[in-house]
């Protein structure tokens, strides 16, 4: 501990510790206390344990402990065929199954070098943008609950239910779809599906505005999130942040735009970043705003897809699905923009086997969470909850 120059004034003692935390001691000597938050804590969104060192109300360090949901996804991958991995990816980020499957399929398709039918691409964009909205609704709803607002949660889950019904109609499952296959999709969209989707888009537009009024512009919510957990853009990049977390720090980076895949180059959408008028750039509120704005962008992407999508005459969703997936020897790193950031798959193939030699999932939450220790230093305990909520972790993906 290093004493600051102005120390020793009466009974007040100011000191600075190695990690730059200023400690103010009054009359009573304060002691650091270890406070274990989790694994079963409602605001950790699953089973995450944070071991906090607290000095009164101030958190001096919060060390995350992971692995409570670890299933060794990567070991399983070495034991099943390439198409058999698709259902496993659903179980990583279970709130955005479609996006996970798609990221995995992108990686394998890159290695196989196959052409995907155009209608399949549009189907994939529609279902994963729907899934992105559903995922952001959970993120926003549970974030509101963390900060003590219950009504937005109910609103979010009511609207999410419509999306889950739509996806269930298309794939047969509510959350773990196994719908996007390597080279295609499992089934064509049901008749009238597109009609229902456009009905949903019309229904949801005003609801998104309502949600903004109820939560994003709510004074209590703003007071709890504005200026809390600020992450400067260069540090965010150094920490490997991606998705809404990185955009919340003001970096206009979206893989759909910057490393485009599928039909995204044909679609017109904005990459929302906070402009600093309503929030401090890089704080919890910015990250929340990015998610709220992204939902509206997803709606417009879906609308464009509906108008551009080729018809279903003579369409076979499995026409490009290979009978036997045996990529040539090589390595690939394929990635896609998930609701939580960049989900990447590093796949190594030996060219002989129908199983990958190595399949590593680069999980976006895992990387985003790794900044937790620095982000929480010097924050108050209630703000710690606001920070974890804003990272929007899904422990299934963190632990894999």
């Amino acid at each position: 501990m290093q004493e600051l120059g102005m120390a020793e004034q009466g009974s007040i003692r100011v000191s600075r510790k190695d990690n730059n935390v200023v400690v103010i001691e009054k009359d009573l000597a304060t002691e650091e206390m270890v406070l274990s938050m989790g694994p079963q804590h409602p605001s950790t969104h699953g089973v995450l344990k944070l071991e906090c060192l607290t000095d009164g109300e101030v958190v001096t360090s919060a060390e995350p402990y992971l692995g409570y949901l670890h299933r060794c996804f990567e070991k399983h991958c070495e034991m099943v065929d390439y198409p058999g991995i698709v259902p496993y990816t659903d179980r990583m980020d279970y709130l955005a199954g479609m996006n996970n499957e798609w990221a995995y399929c992108i990686a394998v398709e890159k290695l196989l070098d196959i052409e995907i039918p155009r209608r399949v691409e549009f189907i994939r964009v529609i279902v994963s943008e729907l899934n992105r909205i559903a995922s952001h609704l959970v993120a926003i709803g549970t974030y509101a609950i963390d900060l003590g607002a219950f009504t937005p949660f109910l609103f979010c889950f009511r609207d999410r239910e419509h999306i889950l019904s739509l996806l269930e109609w298309a794939s047969g499952a509510r959350m773990l779809y196994n719908y996007i296959w390597i080279g295609g999709v499992a089934f064509d969209l049901p008749a009238d599906f597109i009609k229902r989707v456009s009905e949903f888009v019309d229904y949801f537009r005003p609801k998104a505005v309502e949600l903004c009024k109820l939560l994003t512009e709510n004074e209590i919510f703003v007071k709890r999130t504005k200026g809390i957990g600020i992450m400067p853009p260069d540090v965010a990049i150094n920490y490997g942040w991606s998705g809404p977390m990185l955009r919340g720090s003001g970096v206009q980076w979206d893989l759909r735009r910057n490393d485009p895949y599928s039909v995204y180059p044909e679609l017109d959408f904005k990459v929302p970043v906070p402009d600093g008028r309503f929030s401090d750039i890089g704080d919890c509120l910015s990250r929340h705003i990015v998610r709220a704005l992204e939902m509206e962008e997803s709606l417009s992407i879906i609308e464009q897809c509906i108008s551009k999508m080729p018809g279903s005459e003579g369409f076979n969703p499995r026409s490009a699905v290979p009978k036997r997936v045996r990529p040539k020897a090589g390595e690939v790193y394929g990635r896609a923009e998930n609701p939580r950031g960049e989900l990447g798959f590093y796949i190594q193939s030996d060219g002989k086997s129908t199983r990958p030699l190595r399949c590593k999932a680069r999980s976006s939450c895992f990387v985003n969470l790794s900044a937790m220790k620095d982000l929480s230093r010097g924050q108050l305990i209630p703000d710690l909850v606001a920070i974890i909520g804003s990272i929007d972790i899904v422990l299934g993906e963190v632990d894999r």
Binding site: G67, I237, N238, Y239, V251, E331, Y333, G344, R358, V367
Partner: protein
């Protein structure tokens, strides 16, 4: 590489990676291998493992490289070569936009790789994960613990010759 000599036109992204590689090659010479210009994941290998940290810092800070973003770090087991390794996917995010992959290898038993977590913070947890799954040491790592498996777990699950332990605290493990 031979690919270029055959006259095949490389995609633009691979050309950019090749240009970036040339800068590294110029500075470090024999410490890095030749450039593998495949179009899935162009990469080069660091042959002198102990120089990895210098190369990493050089790649992050050189004005023509600016690899400020480590997208992924994957541990890999090479049982045939008796080696373990890491594969780092680097990218210059928002500055130059090029990408490249770097491989670093070490001996399979008791091998170690210099840590890159002071160069890219994100490497901290990735390296902990690679250690957890493969068992290579990262010298100078600020927090060299397991991350996903329990502290007292035996063996390194993603090694090709891994055999799961019979029991863990009285619980039968293989099912």
């Amino acid at each position: 590489m031979s690919d270029m000599e055959e006259g095949r036109v490389l995609p633009q992204s691979v050309q950019q990676s090749a240009a970036a590689y040339e800068v590294v090659r110029e500075a470090f010479g024999p410490a890095v291998s030749d450039f593998d210009a495949n179009e899935f994941m162009p990469f080069f290998e660091v042959l002198e493992t102990e120089k990895w940290q210098d190369i990493a810092l050089f790649m992050r800070d050189h004005p023509r490289l600016k690899f400020n973003y480590m997208a992924c770090l994957s541990g890999v087991d090479y049982p045939a070569e008796e080696k373990l390794g890491i594969v780092c996917n680097l990218e210059s995010l928002g500055v130059l936009g090029h990408r490249i992959a770097v491989k670093v290898k070490c001996a399979r038993n008791g091998g170690s790789i210099p840590t890159a977590s002071y160069v890219w913070h994100t490497a901290n947890w990735h390296e902990r994960e690679a250690f957890d799954m493969f068992g290579m040491q990262f010298t100078g790592h600020p927090d060299p613990r397991r991350i996903l498996c329990p502290e007292d777990w035996e063996g390194f699950p993603l090694r090709k010759d891994y055999a799961v332990q019979e029991s863990y605290h009285g619980i039968k493990v293989p099912y």
